[in-house]
């Protein structure tokens, strides 16, 4: 086992509502595929309203690469296709049958398959879309070989799910998944785990992999931070990554020939009455999960994903493709009289101008839980302060300079400052502490998209 990689910068926000180790299987009748979950994908529909689909049937493909199919996780009927501005497809809603039927993808022995066969099976089953690449966080081009593949084995984000619990009993699927990945690259397969949290043998006993152990506060679980420490990305390099739970789904496909897109998600957050885990299929409607389990007397925000990077959904919205959390926090749409001058014993802040800011000097176990809501706590201002972002960004990157390069759309400068090494999520904490209330993640995302289009990828 390798040495522990210590991540020295970052911050763990302590809030209430972490899921307890209890799992239920709710009855969900509505599912949706959301093309906006996938970066850089223009969907081309393969179904129309009223069509029947099985689990594993293609629903749409990517205009950018026709081989990349997006499949249904459930058998049922296409209920509606919701379109937004410029008729862009927002949601393809499927109402589920009571009995799950599966497309058959065969159970050929993996050992006898060539890379081409493995890729084809993944593309056809739609499970190719579970893999993403750096830079850009897009679904990778199957014709390219990555220099290595990272398996995300822990989540350091606020109220992140416990992977020991998510992966329980999935040893065989995970190992088979690793063997599949082995066919896709001649580089290493990295299993990235937490040095302090990860205890499960499902990950630690995997074979033909390199296990990397990370210690430190969030964003220690972010792929960029991990890559920077194990195999830094250079211009032209491609690294793939996949979540451990998704890897098990790929393993299962090769074991059973079926697309069983089932995963465990956690319902978390201060406004959840009983935070716990749920077994659901991809794209499940969250209404039956959150119903009667949130403080409905308050104005709430439902988030698919964590509170730093997740997507806002409604209380009957759908789970995002890559998310394993539903976070619920209070909306902060209130005025606060002279709020900018209060001593702030209860407010969340990393700034020591608030009394609560001093508590953040303590290790996270001793801290009191922070009370958060979605209020911006101020107006948008010019970028004035310096040296703040650096405290929460454990990368060898000059954040202010990179942000400004993205704003002025200077591609050469973005490259030089290391845009390929980052993703928008790495700047989430910078965005949280920013006194000028700039939407930094959006700026970085725009910068990445600009480069991606410029490169023709």
């Amino acid at each position: 086992m390798s040495d522990i990689i210590k991540i020295k910068k970052g911050f763990d926000i302590k809030i209430s509502g972490k899921a307890i180790e209890k799992v239920s299987s709710p009855i969900v009748s509505s599912y949706a595929l959301k093309p906006s979950d996938y970066i850089g994908i223009t969907p081309k529909l393969l179904v129309k309203e009223g069509d029947r689909v099985k689990a594993g049937s293609p629903v749409f493909f990517s205009k950018q690469n026709e081989k990349i199919l997006f499949t249904s996780s459930v058998s049922g009927t296409i209920e509606s296709i919701k379109r937004g501005d410029k008729r862009a497809i927002e949601e393809i809603i499927i109402s589920a049958d009571s009995n799950q039927e599966y497309e058959d993808f065969g159970t050929d022995s993996l050992a006898s398959m060539l890379r081409g066969n493995v890729v084809e099976k993944l593309l056809k089953s739609g499970l190719w879309t579970l893999i993403r690449q750096r830079p850009y966080s897009t679904i990778p081009n199957p014709d390219v070989q990555p220099k290595c593949i990272i398996v995300k084995g822990f989540d350091s984000s606020p109220l992140g799910a416990d992977y020991n619990f998510l992966l329980k009993g999935k040893s065989a699927d995970l190992q088979l998944g690793v063997d599949v990945l082995r066919k896709l690259t001649s580089g290493k397969i990295h299993i990235n785990v937490s040095a302090t949290e990860t205890t499960c043998n499902e990950l630690l006993k995997l074979e033909n992999v390199q296990i990397n152990r990370f210690e430190g506060a969030h964003p220690a679980g972010n792929i960029s931070v991990q890559i920077a420490n194990i195999d830094p990305i250079n211009k032209g390099d491609i690294i793939w990554y996949i979540d451990a739970q998704d890897l098990a789904i790929i393993g299962k496909l090769f074991a059973s020939g079926r697309v069983e897109m089932q995963k465990m998600i956690a319902l978390v957050g201060p406004e959840v009455k009983n935070p716990q885990y749920f077994n659901v299929l991809f794209g499940a409607c969250v209404s039956s999960i959150v119903q009667n389990n949130v403080n409905s007397d308050k104005h709430l925000r439902f988030i698919s994903g964590n509170i730093l990077t997740g997507t806002t959904i409604t209380s009957n919205g759908y789970l995002g493709a890559y998310d394993n959390l539903i976070s619920v926090i209070e909306e902060g749409d209130y005025y606060e009289f002279l709020g900018w001058i209060t001593p702030g014993i209860k407010k969340f802040s990393l700034s020591r101008t608030f009394l609560s800011g001093f508590c953040n000097l303590l290790p996270s176990k001793l801290r009191r839980t922070a009370q958060i809501d979605t209020n911006l706590h101020g107006g948008k201002r010019a970028l004035v302060l310096t040296g703040e972002y650096e405290n929460v960004l454990p990368l060898d990157i000059y954040p202010m300079q990179l942000i400004k390069a993205c704003i002025i759309e200077d591609i050469d400068l973005m490259e030089q400052l290391g845009i390929y090494e980052v993703d928008a999520e790495d700047f989430a904490l910078c965005e949280v502490i920013d006194v000028s209330k700039t939407d930094i993640q959006q700026i970085i995302r725009n910068g990445l998209e600009l480069i991606r289009k410029e490169m023709g990828e």
């Binding site: 005025y335 969340f348 958060i372 979605t374 949280v432």
Partner: protein, 389 residues
């Protein structure tokens, strides 16, 4: 506070587009957000945000300036009565001193804020921005670096110059490269030298018989040591710019800025290191009396302390990278002492040292960031040369 909120909600439509006074929108917004933190919620990225905002940041700096302001106010009065009656001890006539000082300083503060904020509000409205809070600090810094006898019209002129030429022409808050408050002072120093130098300006309505020379002026003309004792200089019982005399008061402010994490400890520490470095170097090689004074005398004379704590640390005009801050700070300390000791034309080197390094800060940052870029390019070349154009 509901009635305030109700009142604001009632008059708000007048300042929106299509209302009666849309041209006052920025002004209304500035006052509304002063009273209430807005109810705006996050729409992109992280769903929750730190409670810290720009208003609080700037308010904290103003709080940090309070000890220097209060001491300065008292000292104006004391220096005035002391020049008339040199026997006067420091706490004699406490209320008279304070009252006299307040009468002298309040008009300067009012002029600085009224002129500066009017221009800021005007530009914010013109650019359709919210009003940035930066001037709240600048507006307080300007009076504190003025001599107590400065004519008010000159304060108005200098403030207008600093805000328009120093800040707005470059795009406003966050875009300026010179510290506006120091620019105001430099403007007066070069445009109206008689109001900013000599022995007569540092004590308000000084009695003619009293010398009134500042320690810096005494050193300039070749004294072995200033006639004011080190402890008096540390406490600030001497003639000088309004807020600059008391090192103790300034250090209280510095402690506040460092505890709250608003001021950059790297810059403060490195300015003092730079001052010490140059002072000690002069001690080794110097020949005239000015080169021989202990380096810590430089800290307590003139504007060194005030500059190090409140001026050099302005995040917009300082170096922005952490490494750059060290270089920037050390060079300010070195230049300040160098200009004081070597250049006979300017008794106060701190103002010029900071303005000079403000100009060079982007260059320092450029090389710090360039080192990072070179490191990255080197790694790219080693790993996959063909990928690099």
């Amino acid at each position: 506070m509901k009635f305030v909120r109700d009142f604001l909600d009632k008059i708000k439509p007048n300042f929106e587009k299509g209302g009666k006074f849309p041209w006052l929108h920025s002004t209304f917004d500035a006052f509304e957000t002063f009273a209430f933190v807005p109810k705006t919620t996050t729409t992109s990225g992280a769903h929750f945000r730190d409670a810290m905002d720009m208003k609080r940041t700037m308010t904290m700096v103003i709080l940090a300036l309070m000890p220097a302001l209060l001491f300065g106010t008292y000292n104006i009065g004391f220096q005035h009565f002391h020049s008339i009656n040199p026997e006067l001890s420091f706490f004699e006539g406490f209320w008279d001193n304070l009252l006299y000082g307040a009468i002298k300083i309040l008009p300067i503060i009012v002029i600085s804020y009224v002129v500066g904020l009017s221009i800021e509000f005007g530009f914010a409205q013109w650019r359709k921005h919210d009003v940035n809070e930066g001037f709240l600090v600048t507006g307080m810094l300007i009076p504190l670096v003025m001599p107590p006898d400065v004519p008010l019209w000159q304060v108005a002129l200098a403030t207008a110059f600093a805000v328009v030429i120093g800040k707005e022409v470059f795009g406003g808050t966050g875009m300026n490269f010179l510290n506006p408050a120091l620019l105001a002072r430099a403007f007066l120093f070069f445009a109206f030298p008689s109001s900013m130098s000599g022995d007569n300006v540092w004590i308000a309505e000084k009695a003619d018989a009293f010398s009134g020379a500042t320690p810096l002026a005494e050193m300039m003309i070749g004294a072995n040591l200033p006639s004011t004792s080190f402890w008096d200089m540390l406490l600030g019982i001497m003639p000088g710019s309004i807020g600059e005399t008391s090192s103790i008061a300034i250090l209280l402010g510095a402690a506040f800025l460092l505890i709250t994490g608003i001021g950059s400890w790297r810059i403060m520490l490195s300015v003092f290191m730079g001052g010490a470095l140059m002072g000690l170097t002069f001690n080794l090689f110097g020949s005239n009396p000015y080169t021989q004074i202990p380096f810590y005398y430089h800290y307590v004379m003139g504007g060194f302390m005030f500059g190090a704590v409140f001026m050099a640390t302005d995040p917009v005009t300082a170096a922005q990278t952490n490494k750059g801050k060290w270089i920037y700070g050390i060079l300010i300390g070195v230049m300040a002492v160098l200009i004081r000791v070597v250049n006979p034309a300017y008794p106060e080197g701190m103002m010029l040292a900071i303005l000079l390094l403000n100009v060079f800060a982007p260059l320092i940052d450029y090389y710090v960031v360039d080192a990072n870029i070179r490191k990255r390019m080197k790694r790219w070349k080693i790993k996959g040369g063909q990928n690099v154009q």
